[in-house]
Symmetry: C2
Subunit: 216 residues, 2 copies
């Protein structure tokens, strides 16, 4: 938050972390391609050459930010999932809410992860972090779909992919407060209702009462 460069002396003492922080803020403000190493260094109160003591270059720094983002993301999802309690359904819905909350509270991370152009396998560490996050969502989906008879149970990874796709789509299209926002619905409501309808389609939520749909 504090952009003022404050240094204790010749050595920064914490430059690596300070650069990561600065990168997050910069990406948040100007988007992934508006980010420059030079400005991150300036914000950390350090010369433009200093970052190269800690990162191989621009892409390496962004990849590291993305990795940290996935780590935090996974932690939040895991915390929200709460080991499947109090019920598989509520735990699942909580992870969905956590997804959106993460994107809204940490747009810098989110952009580094999904909009920076850094491929998810740019570094082995990044690949591992993103896989771990995927695994949590997939686990939540798997646990929830155990309540479904096996013969009409989609693969858990497909289930998870559907939810991920809808969540990501809502974030990208409707959660940004950029001018030109579409539609009158707040993003969290949109995602909540969307997931609700999807789960009803799977048979995980009882259908609404009401007359049968006419034949179409």
């Amino acid at each position: 938050m504090s952009d003022q460069p404050r240094r204790r002396g010749y050595h920064h003492g914490n430059l690596r972390e300070a650069l990561i922080e600065a990168t997050i803020d910069l990406i948040e403000e100007k988007g992934p391609q508006g980010f420059t190493i030079a400005e991150a260094a300036k914000r950390a109160g350090v010369s433009a050459a200093a970052p190269y003591r800690h990162f191989a270059g621009r892409d390496d720094l962004i990849a590291e930010v993305a990795r940290c983002g996935f780590v935090l993301f996974a932690e939040l999802m895991e915390f929200a999932y709460d080991d499947g309690g109090p019920s598989a359904l509520s735990a699942f819905l909580a992870t969905g809410r956590a997804y959106l909350a993460f994107a809204e509270k940490h747009p810098g991370y989110y952009m580094a992860m999904f909009e920076s152009g850094v491929p998810l396998n740019a570094t082995p560490e990044l690949a591992r972090a993103s896989e771990r996050a995927t695994a949590i969502l997939t686990l939540a989906a798997a646990r929830l779909s155990e309540h479904l008879p096996a013969e009409r149970r989609p693969p858990a990874s497909m289930f998870a992919a559907h939810i991920w796709a809808m969540s990501h789509g809502v974030v990208e299209l409707f959660a940004r407060s950029t001018p030109g926002s579409r539609g009158p619905f707040p993003a969290d409501q949109l995602l909540e209702t969307g997931i609700g309808i999807y789960l009803r389609g799977l048979g995980l939520i009882p259908p609404d009462t009401g007359p049968e749909p006419e034949k179409i």
Copy 2:
């Protein structure tokens, strides 16, 4: 496709369109931020200053490409929708397929529209084009949901937003052939099944036969 600059003389004759074409190709190859006016001009066989006779600047050119993209997009969606025939349901599913087909066949347009950072209301013409595209999807959703009893019918714009979000999410996360693609499912199958489950949740597709889900 032909990158060779071929000119008939001092005047290009068709520079505006040639620049748009070059921009599409460049964005497709290098992403929206890899695009430069200088290179678009070179591809069109023209000096770097020439584009300024036709566009106010970089952003204006990208915005125009996005606008063209929305126009084509709307046309394809409209064609796929086919005025709601042969049935509201099949017409709706066709528009979903058209969405994905557009993203796959015209990635340059798609990126200019959704990933370039150009806000959808950057110019009045762009805003109009994107609204028209939205309107078509919303119309398809409205027509389809007429088959639902009014009291459990979500607003058509919300319905449309759900579908748009899932489609966009599938495109962004699973349709790119970039290294690091996730999941073993082809994008079209993912979208098809996802929309199917969603529509079942709305009651627009009869539920699968099978035992009731246990209480969860």
